[in-house]
């Protein structure tokens, strides 16, 4: 009897160890992972793997990854890494070609990821994890305003061309100014002046649109290659856009932009959006402009169109003890079935077949715009010291576009201080 009890206790303990494999996952907080969380119980049922989710705002994801993942130990079996931070964490993650094949779900072919996004998880010639969402600049313009017959006639009389979705920067400025100066909108343009990474994105967008890169890898080193004259032109143009922006534009982050565009009765005429946020703008319970937005690729500057990319990759730390289970979770998440369901829920995965599914062509008008924007995808520079450079750019960019400092001086400060950071880093 006693022996039988001992055997039973050991058997139960062994069974619980085998059946309750648990993975700890660190998610960034936006509509996309939150939507996915609805379906996780299905994954747990299918595989017997329990998924512990921790969901944090993007800056905190970065901090938490920094302190919780190293070569020898990790608190997470799967972490989401914003594309700008891939260089910093690449050496701590298992390359995708070493991920085990799935037991329940098939290993995802990286070629199912849209080419513009696949580059996100590449570092030193290796694929470090799998890009998981399709996030890049898409332009939003108020359809109800550009289709209004009175505004169309007035605008044509004043500017000599038809009102429409802005195709160029000048058109965006003209149309925004028309709506703003006539009191039709609270803002002709919705800038982003929130966190350093976002402001850096705006600066890179303007500089690329005016024909200059900022930092490039030259002979294995991040090198400042900016053409100051072109960069100043980009900053000066943004300064003009700030003059037709809503009150408080100097500190507008995503929350304020959404409030101005979608909750203000007058609203904003045009601005960029990360596709991950489209669900909120198209939710009639949260938005006054749901169904009234035209989506397009960003307007073209003098050097052409550019859509800044801001995609997340999922990565398995080398120190994880549950690599296979973590991989299984990613294969489920990146499967066609789940990706298609995520599109249905107004979020944007990275799989080409889900994004181009003809069933969504009419009901999800932003998908065509995302596909169009992907032709013009541009990345922010990636290197270990990027956070320092982002802070420098944010500081002087905002001083320049708000008139606290001449744009020329602000750009010189950006150049001088960025050079100093790169020099101190030993490049």
């Amino acid at each position: 009897m006693k022996k039988a009890l001992i055997v039973l206790v050991f058997a139960l303990a062994f069974a619980s160890m085998v059946s309750a494999q648990t993975i700890n996952v660190l998610f960034w907080d936006d509509a996309y992972p939150r939507t996915l969380m609805e379906r996780i119980p299905e994954f747990e049922k299918a595989t017997g793997i329990k998924v512990n989710i921790e969901i944090l705002q993007p800056p905190q994801v970065f901090t938490k990854t920094s302190v919780s993942v190293s070569k020898d130990r990790t608190d997470y079996d799967l972490v989401c890494v914003d594309e700008g931070n891939i260089p910093l964490f690449a050496s701590l993650m298992l390359p995708y070609d070493q991920w085990a094949p799935g037991k329940v779900f098939k290993k995802v072919d990286p070629n199912t990821v849209t080419p513009a996004m696949l580059d996100v998880a590449q570092w030193d010639g290796k694929l470090i994890g799998l890009p998981i969402n399709g996030n890049l600049y898409v332009w939003m313009t108020r359809k109800d305003l550009i289709e209004n017959p009175k505004y169309k006639a007035d605008f044509k009389a004043k500017y000599g061309y038809d009102l429409g979705v802005p195709q160029t920067f000048q058109q965006m400025l003209d149309e925004g100014t028309y709506f703003y100066e006539n009191g039709i909108v609270s803002g002709g343009f919705g800038p982003f002046n929130g966190g350093p990474a976002g402001v850096f994105g705006e600066a890179i967008f303007m500089w690329e649109s005016y024909g200059t890169h900022f930092i490039e890898w030259v002979k294995g080193k991040p090198t400042l290659v900016v053409d100051k004259a072109k960069a100043v032109q980009g900053m000066e143009f943004y300064k003009k856009l700030m003059k037709i922006s809503p009150k408080g534009a100097e500190t507008m982050a995503h929350v304020e932009r959404q409030a101005a565009f979608a909750a203000d009765p007058k609203g904003v005429f045009t601005q960029f959006i990360w596709p991950a946020q489209i669900a909120s703008y198209e939710d009639p319970d949260k938005s006054l402009v749901a169904g009234k937005i035209v989506y397009s690729a960003p307007p073209a500057g003098p050097a052409g169109r550019f859509a800044i990319r801001g995609t997340w990759a999922v990565n398995i730390p080398l120190a994880s003890k549950n690599k296979d289970a973590a991989a299984e979770f990613v294969y489920w998440w990146a499967s066609k079935d789940i990706a298609t369901w995520l599109v249905e829920k107004n979020t944007v995965p990275a799989r080409t077949d889900a994004l181009t599914d003809p069933r969504f062509a009419k009901t999800k008008p932003w998908l065509a715009a995302i596909a169009d924007s992907m032709k013009y995808a541009a990345a922010r520079p990636r290197f270990n010291e990027v956070a320092q450079v982002q802070d420098i750019v944010k500081k002087y960019w905002i001083m320049g576009i708000t008139g606290q400092m001449p744009c020329d001086d602000a750009m010189q400060k950006i150049i001088d201080e960025t050079k100093d950071v790169l020099k101190k880093a030993g490049y």
Partner: protein
């Protein structure tokens, strides 16, 4: 009945008992000493150790490099470091005197009984119980240019809207005002408690001698409250040196670096730039500043001699 030990064994037994008694206090104190060492001394020693390394946070301990005092030297060359120190000290020297003034005035006014006095005194304490992060969020929304109540009021009065957190000067003023709003009741709480403990006979004697309100205030109330005032100021200085979350949610240190206080810049160094060594050097610097403040206030003003002198005067 009683067993007697031979006379030769007594000194040895007494010696052993004495030794045991000598060790006993240390044994009783040991748990407290161990806890203090673990939670107070060890982190300081570890920070000091880390501050001598170039230690990229995400790469773990394996890639750290000893740089000696290099991080301290680099800090002295960093204009952002000096800017953050200047802003932090400005924050302390502007906010705390105003909090003290408000707290003292309210304590004097409410140091009497009237209908509803207890309710008023309790309500005044409410801001202290606000979580700093919620206080920061509340002020951020109150100061929002388009939807904030402050600008709505300005518009009703015919004044122009102000982008409070978008302008360097008003953003810095805003974080100070937020701190004053939240923490002046702390001063009130301590000073009111001290005021109620002043013997009434002293005041009555002064009144009989013809002392008016101002004379009583200058000659009795303030000298008797000095230890409490100094304690309150010291506690607030230590607290204000660590202020972080409310400023982080209000401005994130911006616009530009206009509100990048020392604590925010330390956080940027550690978690933004991944420079743990540099952040530790800043933490040690902050510790030294705290000690200087504490020594100045405690040693010079709170010693018994000085207090006796003041009481005698």
């Amino acid at each position: 009945m009683f067993s007697r030990k031979p006379a030769t064994e007594l000194p040895r037994a007494q010696g052993q008992a004495g030794k045991a008694r000598g060790r006993a206090p240390f044994l009783f104190l040991a748990p407290a000493i161990i806890v203090v060492f673990a939670v107070l001394i060890f982190p300081i020693i570890f920070s000091l150790f880390v501050s001598t390394y170039n230690w990229p946070l995400s790469q773990g301990a394996g890639v750290r490099h000893f740089v000696g005092l290099g991080n301290y030297a680099a800090l002295t060359q960093d204009p952002e470091f000096w800017n953050s120190l200047k802003l932090q000290l400005g924050f302390i020297f502007i906010a705390i005197p105003i909090e003290l003034l408000f707290g003292f005035a309210a304590a004097l006014l409410l140091n009497r009984e009237f209908f509803g006095a207890r309710v008023v005194r309790s309500l005044l304490l409410l801001p202290v119980f606000f979580l700093p992060i919620l206080s920061g969020m509340t002020w951020r929304f109150m100061l929002q240019p388009r939807y904030g109540p402050l600008n709505a009021l300005l518009l009703k009065l015919g004044a122009p809207e102000i982008t409070w957190l978008g302008n360097p000067a008003t953003a810095y003023a805003a974080i100070i005002v937020q701190d004053i709003w939240r923490m002046w009741p702390f001063m009130f709480m301590l000073l009111y408690a001290a005021l109620t403990s002043i013997p009434q006979e002293l005041m009555e004697a002064a009144e009989i001698d013809g002392a008016g309100f101002w004379l009583k205030l200058r000659s009795l109330t303030i000298p008797l409250l000095t230890p409490t005032i100094l304690t309150a100021v010291l506690l607030r200085i230590i607290d204000a040196l660590r202020v972080f979350s409310e400023v982080y949610v209000m401005t994130e240190g911006g616009p530009g670096s206009a509100t990048m206080l020392f604590s925010l810049y330390t956080q940027r160094q550690a978690f933004g730039y991944q420079k743990v060594g540099m952040a530790s050097a800043m933490a040690i610097f902050l510790l030294v500043i705290s000690i200087v403040f504490a020594l100045t206030l405690v040693r010079k003003n709170m010693s018994l001699d000085v207090l006796e002198e003041k009481a005698g005067a």
